[in-house]
Amino acid sequence: MVALAAFGAAFTLLVATAALVLLGRWLAGPPGWAATAPERVPFAGGLPPDVHAWNRFHARYYVMALLFLTFDMEMVYMFPWAVVFRQEGAVAIGEIFVFISILALGILYAWRERSLGWS
């Protein structure tokens, strides 16, 4: 239960800090000082926008995002490996080397397909 207490402290810290910021924000004044419509226009150099900026935004890196989604999972396996690998010795290095090589092939493929940049 000692560990839970420490995590409780971390959680308290997160909530307390966030609450402090929100409190400070509230104390510093009301939002928008009752701003007029022109005062609320988004900044683009002086002219108002034609449409809402919120749109179906074409994020050009979606292929890289998919790559990340799968590649990220590798970390799940690697942290436990790092903890025990000295007890297991050279076999552990061999296993992780195979694992990393397999995943590195994925990056190599993405790079060869030129899928990492903006599409």
Partner: protein, 445 residues
């Protein structure tokens, strides 16, 4: 106007009165050295968005088309806010501004604008001067309250004007076949990195420029305010009454212009402090500064990352470069320079400097090299003069079809690259830049 806590004059505001003054610079036509002077003052911090500013500095002449955007930028500054307008001493220019913007502090070309800014800032924070009221009427862009089934102006899934504006629509994509939404935003004329007075109607597909049009807000007419400052190095044709023109004055103006440009470019790439240093040099370059200039040149050439991030961006070569002319052409290896034909310049041993690649990197190299060369020429020139035909303007002249040239250069680029391209070419926009737009649209159709 309510600033609820830390009211002007209160203890918090008194502490804040000693802060670096956040300034948003709205460059009108003929803004002169205003921005460079502010950049070179450590008590002032030039910011990229009016939301972060307290002082709005307007410089030079604001034509009638830019009056409303200026007022909007003014309103976008959160209170407390003050305006300082620096104008040339044209006929009645100061009085006209005082009449139209009674809350603003107006200064002439001879006054110390930085000191005025700091003073006005302190006054408003110490409560000795009221914060400025909004200039535009409180009118929503479209009637939306109580309209539609939810009272927010919308209809259906994507229709209507929810909260005053319509939603973006879809368009086929140029690059990868996902036809998602495109958003048209008119950028400028007071975007910090933009050339003076340029307005680009950019259609975004994601962060990529889908299409570009040039809007013209510069047409002269009634309602324009302020006069250009005399020290506007962009045209560098000097006083039209005094002909022929002295070379040393011309070349120093060229050097100042290039250095001001460089200061802005460095800020665009996030190098604020270095930009400040360059702005200090730009304030008044004299031939003795040439050692500093060479030093700066060496230093920037050694800045590996700056070279890498500017290389290959906004490449303009060949016919496109010839169409631009000026610095852009010379950066692409074309030795076009009006000075080449001048006997006076030939006597000074002038030969145009050129670079090869015509990309962002070669354009800043070109400008730096020309700035150095200009100072050398100014030092050697004595009282030599040059006639009108052989004056090479320091600024990048805009081609007749500015919209077409920018469209070619920007379409399909990521916004950061597109902006870097515009900023590194930095054309001097003239009235009528977007005037041929309907004609071109017809031609395309």
């Amino acid at each position: 106007m309510v600033v609820s806590r830390g009211r002007p004059g209160g203890p918090l505001a008194r502490l804040a009165a000693g802060a670096e003054v956040p300034v948003f610079v709205a460059r009108g036509l003929g803004a002169g050295d205003t921005e460079a002077r502010l950049l070179g003052t450590s008590a002032v911090r030039v910011v990229a968005s009016p939301r972060q500013a307290t002082v709005l500095v307007v410089a030079g002449h604001v034509p009638p088309g830019m009056a409303e955007p200026l007022a909007r930028v003014h309103d976008q500054i959160p209170p407390p806010r003050v305006t300082v307008w620096r104008t040339g001493a044209g006929a009645g220019a100061l009085d006209a501004i005082r009449a139209a913007w009674p809350q603003a502090t107006v200064v002439g070309p001879g006054d110390d604008v930085a000191a005025t800014v700091v003073h006005a800032y302190r006054e408003v924070l110490l409560g000795r001067r009221p914060t400025e009221q909004p200039r535009l009427a409180d009118v929503e862009p479209a009637e939306w309250r109580g309209v539609g089934p939810y009272g927010q102006g919308g209809s259906g899934m994507t229709g209507g004007v929810p909260y005053g504006r319509p939603m973006a629509g879809r368009a086929d994509d140029l690059r990868d076949g996902l036809s998602l939404d495109v958003v048209r935003v008119r950028m400028g004329p007071f975007l910090p990195a933009f050339p003076t007075g340029l307005v680009l109607a950019v259609t975004f597909a994601g962060d990529v420029v889908h299409a570009v049009e040039v809007d013209d807000l510069l047409t002269p007419g009634d309602g324009g305010l302020g006069a250009p400052l005399p020290d506007d190095a962009a045209d560098s044709r000097g006083d039209p009454a005094a002909r022929p023109v002295r070379i040393d004055g011309l070349e120093r103006a060229r050097c100042r212009h290039h250095l001001r440009w460089l200061a802005r470019l460095l800020r665009l790439y996030g190098l604020e402090a270095l930009g400040r240093r360059v702005a200090l040099m730009a304030a008044a370059p004299v031939p003795e500064d040439i050692a500093h200039l060479r030093n700066l040149h060496r230093r920037l050439e050694r800045a590996w990352v700056l070279g890498r991030v500017t290389a290959g961006v906004g490449v303009v070569t060949g016919d496109a470069a010839a169409q631009w002319g000026g610095v852009t052409a010379r950066a692409a290896g074309l030795a076009v320079d009006a000075r080449s034909g001048s006997p006076a310049y030939q006597a000074l041993g002038f030969a145009p400097v050129t670079h090869e690649a015509g990309d962002g990197r070669d354009r800043w190299r070109q400008r730096l090299a020309e700035a150095t060369q200009a100072l050398e020429l100014a030092g050697r020139a004595g009282d030599a003069t040059v006639d009108d035909d052989h004056i090479e303007p320091a600024g990048q002249p805009a081609p007749a079809d500015l919209a077409g040239a920018l469209g070619t250069a920007l379409t399909g680029q990521e916004w950061g690259d597109a902006l870097a391209t515009v900023a590194s070419i930095d054309p001097v926009v003239h009235p009528g830049a977007g005037a041929d737009r309907p004609a071109r649209a017809e031609a395309a159709a």
